[in-house]
Subunit: 182 residues, 2 copies
């Protein structure tokens, strides 16, 4: 079965099936008569939220990320749970990671994080009308939350202190939005 | 051996070793006494380039991406070859994918694409002083290149037609730069 763009799967096998991801090795035919073997990481998709308080300040979290072997500043975010819509996932992660409930969740982007080898889709939201509750991180999460003004966050981007893909997209979209809005 | 942030690897095994990526399953101890099993995709790192012509127009490429099963608009980009610096990789991809040589390559960002499960680092460049030569894509690449004004590219972002992580970062950085510069 060809997809809309003209690609089709000829053969393949699952190398690994895991908790966060799976790995497939596939023989494919791509548009333009390209035959190739592709290594594909399968991922259920992710959600991330830029929380914006009434005074314009933003909430970022810092947590240790094993693959990076570093503490990483990023948006509250996580994987979509099975059966959950991206919006439900965004609301859940916002409560779990920073204890915030939102009265206004707006989708601002949907993108592939790294489509060369992974099917992960990132659903990016902006949350306003925030009410502070209590965070309840998962057992394997240690999360520090901090409020930044947009100017502070952009200065941290310029200094290379914020360096994570979805977080850069959200902060730069916010910068563009405020220039357009104001 | 603990890393700077306090994480250490207790045990692990390689599940798969491939051409584009490898997969490790690791038992780790993370800061805050978190013991966890992490699935980690290992990747050699990537380079991507925003080519900016003298008239301000930008060059993007469209190619089929099997994991997305779609034609994706993105920056000229690719994996780092072994032994290659990120800057050398950026120059190589720029020639291979769009036939452009650059007299001025500036690093604009370095970030993790998806640090929750993958160690890929993206090295992002902006290229000016461009000279047009002939593209020479790899055997399994079919690449369409097109020039966009920044306004056209941002309109395509707003319509959801450009939806790839590194490309959003680069276009939004360019928008911010021109507002600051001009």
């Amino acid at each position: 079965m060809k997809d809309e763009a003209g690609g089709s799967r000829l053969d393949g096998r699952r190398i690994y099936e895991g908790k966060v991801l799976s790995l497939d090795l596939e023989e494919v035919e791509e548009p333009g008569d390209v035959r190739a073997t592709r290594e594909v990481v399968r991922h259920s998709g992710s959600v991330a939220v830029l929380p914006v308080h009434e005074d314009g300040s933003l909430v970022l979290v810092r947590q240790y990320r094993w693959p990076a072997r570093a503490l990483v500043w990023e948006l509250p975010a996580g994987r979509r749970d099975p059966g959950e819509t991206p919006e439900e996932g965004a609301r859940r992660e916002l409560v779990e990671e920073v204890g915030l409930e939102t009265g206004a969740l707006e989708k601002i982007a949907e993108f592939w994080t790294t489509p060369g080898f992974c099917d992960e889709v990132m659903h990016l939201y902006r949350a306003t009308d925030l009410r502070q509750g209590t965070a309840r991180p998962e057992a394997d999460e240690r999360i520090e939350a901090r409020r930044f003004s947009l100017a502070e966050a952009l200065a941290a981007v310029d200094r290379g202190e914020i360096r994570e893909g979805k977080t850069l997209v959200a902060l730069l979209m916010e910068a563009r939005r405020r220039r357009i809005d104001t």
